[in-house]
Symmetry: C2
Subunit: 397 residues, 2 copies
Amino acid sequence: MSVKFAVLGHGVVGSGVVELFYKNQKSIEKKAGTEMELKYILDLRDFPDAPYADKFTKDFNDILNDDEVTAVCECMGGLEPAYTFVKSCLEKGKSVSTSNKELVAEKGDILLAIAKEKGCNFFFEASVGGAIPIIRPLHRCLAANDIFKISGILNGTTNFILTKMYNDDMPFDEALKLAQELGYAEKDPTADIEGHDASRKICILSSLAFGKHVYPKSVYTKGISQIDLCDVKIADQLGYAIKLIASVKKLDNDKILPSVMPMLVPRDNIISGVDDVFNAVLVDADAVDKSMFYGRGAGKFPTASAVVGDLIETVKHHVNVFSQYWEPSQDDSFIESIENFSSKWYFRIPSDDNAHASVMFNCEDGLAFITDEELTFAQAKAQAESLGAYALIPILL
Amino acid sequence: MSVKFAVLGHGVVGSGVVELFYKNQKSIEKKAGTEMELKYILDLRDFPDAPYADKFTKDFNDILNDDEVTAVCECMGGLEPAYTFVKSCLEKGKSVSTSNKELVAEKGDILLAIAKEKGCNFFFEASVGGAIPIIRPLHRCLAANDIFKISGILNGTTNFILTKMYNDDMPFDEALKLAQELGYAEKDPTADIEGHDASRKICILSSLAFGKHVYPKSVYTKGISQIDLCDVKIADQLGYAIKLIASVKKLDNDKILPSVMPMLVPRDNIISGVDDVFNAVLVDADAVDKSMFYGRGAGKFPTASAVVGDLIETVKHHVNVFSQYWEPSQDDSFIESIENFSSKWYFRIPSDDNAHASVMFNCEDGLAFITDEELTFAQAKAQAESLGAYALIPILL
């Protein structure tokens, strides 16, 4: 008897899931330990020429009310109707794997609780880092560890733009235009370049690593649209690459500090070499020291790979197998204010000011330097204001 | 009721497992979903001053015959008595997690079959890449993929030596001596520097990825003891880092070709930036494209992290949860001969020879070049002989 599943949404990721399933069906079934059948694809559009045209339905209830369907891949994206659909599936005991980071970042705690209660699985490996196995490794393989810090390049669009600025001396606007031409950036690129996409992903990793739901609204988020080409070039000469870093740190006061912002990454940090649309996540923990995961953060088949990987796991285990779980958070009192974020800082200031720093660089419109000491964000901002700084960027320590 | 487990061997890794368990016991138990108790530590030596001195036994039968013990961590290393002990445990239905690469590379098929038959788990995340989650990600997270190729830096000792040669112009012998002084290399460094350690690890990854047991004797293995400092420097100037690469490739004829040898890694391959004792594994597969895993490949706590991670999983699931499995291989007819290994090649030859290559470099004792075309190993060797080459090293393509 075969296990029957449905795919919600036949866009880039959903069609990738369907195609990947049919392409590797034999080995996928071998790993799942059972035959599998794709019974429905939900989409409001028509796909009369698809080789699996008979699978399409426009009515979600066909899927919800078919007790034969025990597993569902949600690839619609956006909060609604994805949330309503996924919730209904889980409440009926159907396991769900999703690629929808917005859904997990906003509603993960609620959906995990329903899955736990109903004894089914809510999996979301595809929601962070696309093809990169990070959710499962973080939660299972590093389970023996006390995690201190996670820092990642979690958005491919911005990493592509910064790589172009760095490698080809291309100003931000031009690099963004190129990213749009290549299909790496949306027509409205706000979610990517302003850091919202990365913010959702660091919420998911923070919730998973530290056990309480972290909402995007609690995360300080700054994008790359104000990064000047000259800062990229100066950083390079000082031995750093500028990257959009999504990170979360456990502090001595037991609070956590998640953030998304451009940072100067030292060349000897393996993350500095992560270029183009690739993503990477670096985990600092007590036993492993440093562990890094790297791969394509988006795209049709990379993302589908993660969704189908989750599907295989859920087909193999009809019961809830994941202790992957976090609690709802009543408030964000466990999250430290960004004002207390501490690091060394890169300043670019008018030249007539005198900086007392050991790393200095004379540039066209003044002087760039990196502070010798760590400063809080509040202190750095105050200093930047008094110096009339053109640029203020923290170092990834 | 707590789940009781035993640790076999109280050397570097075994003591790490015990210490890590006690350090993070609370969060480990939370993830395992049950209380856990370390009941025995097997070692022939006495540790009267250990805070857990009452746990030690010298008699393996205390553990084997205690039905309360349902999980065992094997950290003794070497084939015997590890094999006999692990086999007996699995036959009694006790799950085993091991850090012993020799054991898995030589006897993995037999032990996996017993675990499957008895419905218990045989886990070995720690046997490859120490702290790096690779076994589980490869098998589970990438389960939807057709894997083409795995290439890794799987030995920290040799990577440390090559990094010293590269960064500090240190000749091989001197770098080896330093590695020994720092405790990164054994007194008898043969297993590391001649590639045997890496060979065992690529056997395990090959068996897992391609489903048939690959024995170390079937793997062409060449170490780094003949790498000349001048080749490291020339490679650098040509844009490559020399690394000891353990790799396996699926060929068009459906055979696989595993090997361990020094290779020139192009600077734009993320693996080229993996330095010092760090390890990394790069996986090429149809859906994910490229995925890389990086971390500490050895050491007390990194390795213990992987063993305890496996222990948590086995405690959580009393039944066999892994489809991780490979068949015994009757012969090695599924393994391609190294003579047919194909790549571009780095040659260093006496200067009076004329090379027709577009990448050339004049060096002290002649000329170094990289072939424009791919050649098989057999062809490259013949050419090297006819040119009287001093050095012949393949490029990691």
